[in-house]
Symmetry: C2
Subunit: 444 residues, 2 copies
């Protein structure tokens, strides 16, 4: 083999020559640098972990270096989740390893694992319809048919297999549950994510297998063959783990006006490095805030890099509690990857202002949607408490659930061109609302 490149170009060329990844120009901007450095220098940063603490220190240092004021960590404590070793094997009709991950808040199996016959359910509704006690001693498997779509709307109903399935299976006597990953890819990377169990229900070990593994189970079920599975999950919940938010301000020229809050979350699932979920979101809101502020804003723009979103939006709840007595003018969040913004939703009573924002975004290929903007997990609590105006910049989610909560959530999945379109769109919005002197109120 001949070296393709030699000499002084080498170091840069190595980085640019990443297979299948879009190649960012060197020094391509604040947003790229944030997501690249966070995923490279910190990596996975699960809620409550030492790595999440390392991410907070990294984030505070970065925000200060970028010129933010009042940068601080705001600590809180959570019920966390400690990743162990998660394994599963099909034992019958043939021995085959299954690519599995424990779901968030799943209890561990005994160390030697458990075995059970598989009860196959094609849908969550089919599981719900199973008679009480019918799963005693068995491992439930729940299939589904999630498909990729632009607005990510499948994550509500199909994500319920993960959110609700474990609790339902537990109430029917299952000794464990395995679900088809809530994902739209066909790689051997399972999708983790939080689950929960209703009060009074004894939690059971709960995992997700990759789509190709779920296909194998579905084919075997369709052939009418019975299945046995061996399952060992050592991941487990843990109380009293430290977490925290990181907050910083770009102070506006008119302190009489309430600040705008723009949020993302700093924590990530541990399987990948949290590039699209949600390093990119922090990169977008921060770079856009800097851009708008540099052009001049009367209102202060506050950046919230929330902690512990993945396990239940703990950072957003903590923020709303800690800042209940401070006014906020409007809230926005970026937490849906780094692909292009295609739609804006404006929950703004001032229709002239809303129309002005929509018109300004139009040259970026962004259309206007309805007023049902909701912000997101990290600003949901403060929006609810203070009845805030909200603007959503909806991103193209077609490939988001290919990578979401998997080992594949890595930097190469971020397209720097689309990332920059996000920054530009956000900066336009922040430039307008940051200088709006009228009260910013929601519709109705």
């Amino acid at each position: 083999m001949k070296a393709l490149i030699t000499g002084p170009m080498l170091a840069a060329a190595v980085v640019l020559a990443i297979p299948a990844a879009a190649s960012p120009p060197q020094g391509s901007g604040t947003a790229w640098d944030i997501v690249a450095d966070l995923t490279t220098e910190v990596g996975p940063r699960l809620d409550g972990s030492e790595r999440e603490a390392a991410a907070r220190a990294w984030a505070a240092a970065r925000l200060k270096a970028l010129g933010f004021q009042n940068v601080r960590e705001e600590p809180f404590t959570i019920r966390g989740f400690v990743r162990g070793e998660d394994r599963a094997r099909l034992l019958a009709p043939a021995v085959q390893p299954l690519a599995i991950t424990a779901l968030g808040y799943s209890p561990a199996t005994p160390a030697k694992g458990i075995e059970g016959e598989v009860a196959y359910f094609p849908t969550l509704d089919a599981l719900k319809a199973a008679p009480a006690g019918s799963l005693a001693g068995r491992i439930a498997f729940v299939d589904h048919a999630m498909r990729a779509n632009q607005d990510g709307s499948g994550y509500g109903p199909f994500g319920n297999v993960r959110r609700q399935g474990p609790g339902i299976a537990a109430t029917k006597g299952a000794i464990a549950i395995i679900i088809r990953s809530a994902g739209t890819d066909n790689h051997r990377n399972p999708h983790t994510g939080v689950s929960s169990f209703p009060d009074g229900v004894k939690p059971i070990p709960a995992g997700a297998v990759s789509n190709p593994d779920a296909d194998l189970i579905a084919r075997t079920a369709a052939a009418g063959r019975s299945m046995r599975v061996a399952l060992t999950l050592t991941s487990h919940p843990q109380d009293g783990m430290p977490s925290g938010n990181v907050v910083g301000d770009l102070v506006g020229s008119n302190p009489a006006l309430a600040p705008i809050i723009v949020a993302c979350h700093l924590d990530s699932w541990d399987l990948g490095t949290g590039a699209i979920d949600d390093g990119a979101g922090c990169a977008i809101v921060t770079a856009a805030a800097l851009k708008a502020h540099a052009a001049g804003t009367q209102r202060t723009i506050r950046v919230l890099w929330a902690g512990s979103e993945e396990l239940g939006g703990w950072g957003g709840i903590a923020y709303a509690k800690a800042h209940a007595n401070e006014p906020h003018a409007l809230a926005m969040e970026s937490d849906f990857g780094a692909d292009r913004v295609w739609r804006v939703k404006l929950n703004l009573a001032d229709e002239a202002l809303a129309a002005r924002i929509a018109a300004a975004l139009n040259p970026l290929g962004i259309v206007r949607g309805d007023a049902k903007a909701n912000g997101g997990e990290d600003v949901g609590a403060i929006i609810e408490a203070q009845k805030l105006a909200v603007i959503d910049l909806n991103q193209d989610g077609t490939r988001y659930f290919d990578y979401h909560h998997t080992p594949d959530d890595t930097l190469d999945k971020v397209d720097p061109v689309q990332l920059q379109q996000n920054v530009d769109a956000w900066a336009i919005v922040l430039g307008i609302v940051g200088n709006a002197e009228s009260d910013l109120k929601p519709v109705g």
Copy 2:
């Protein structure tokens, strides 16, 4: 969530509703059934393993059921490889897990693992240029720039990083070597594959990390930061493991004519289920042989489902030895996935026959290449020993190295439409050469 489908359609619908996978019609043909059933009912079948033995039993039963005669297992013994637990972590500058797999014939590390500073090499040539002894106590990392292409020609030079890199690093004193996977995807699935060490060189633990992990290492190296890695590989070679070929004949109408041999390999790497490598190949050659035979052939078509190809073509060597005294007319092999045939290469002295074959394939979108047909690993030894005529049906390899030797080599990667185009092309060729009464001799 509402069930999308209910009632009697359910079982079939579950199978058809596989995300991102082409949906084969039920009962869509012999080829699909072979690769689907082999991957479902046997799964991973590493050279020398119990699962490879199970695959031989499965294969013999299937060939008999399909009407093959003289079906038999032909056992041999190999130096095998036992998969253990393979792990790596970047320790500095930041702790990050690395998705790694041991390379075939890598020795194990001590059970508690090893740690070392990383010596980064952008190419195999750069590793070759390292001074003797310069890697003492260090872990070599070798990067490269393999890209997808239609004819798979990158696997020669870039595959050498895997084949030769470990031996070279060992001679320079490295305690271990990690390479960027010889693959063209950007998923967190490392590509395994066989390696080797020159005589007299003490083997060192050798692994491959996924491309996103290699990107992380390359970025860190480009930033000029030193790296430490912790490596634990418990996979290891093992002598005296049982393997074998499975052979069956479709007897032609004229026993005076030497048979045609069509080959694939039955073994697979253990990370995936060997769908494209090489369940699909066995499916193609077998279904095509049956189709040509049903239409009438004077020559016998012999199917060879070779064992232990992955660790060094042991099955092909064993076949050539066992059948050295039997005449063969012509050899072909399918071992490059299941995507469409785009080119035929004919090493046939009878140019009129070669031209007739090429013309017959043209309606399937297949062009003619040169005469440098080489067959493949499983027929290489018999071709060499008997100077056989060879025909290659070259498949589109653009996405082959996205999945090759990874956990992602699963059934959903087989496109049933392209699989059937392969069968049709092979059947055309076998129909013509199976009735060619002239001697089938190679060029020159």
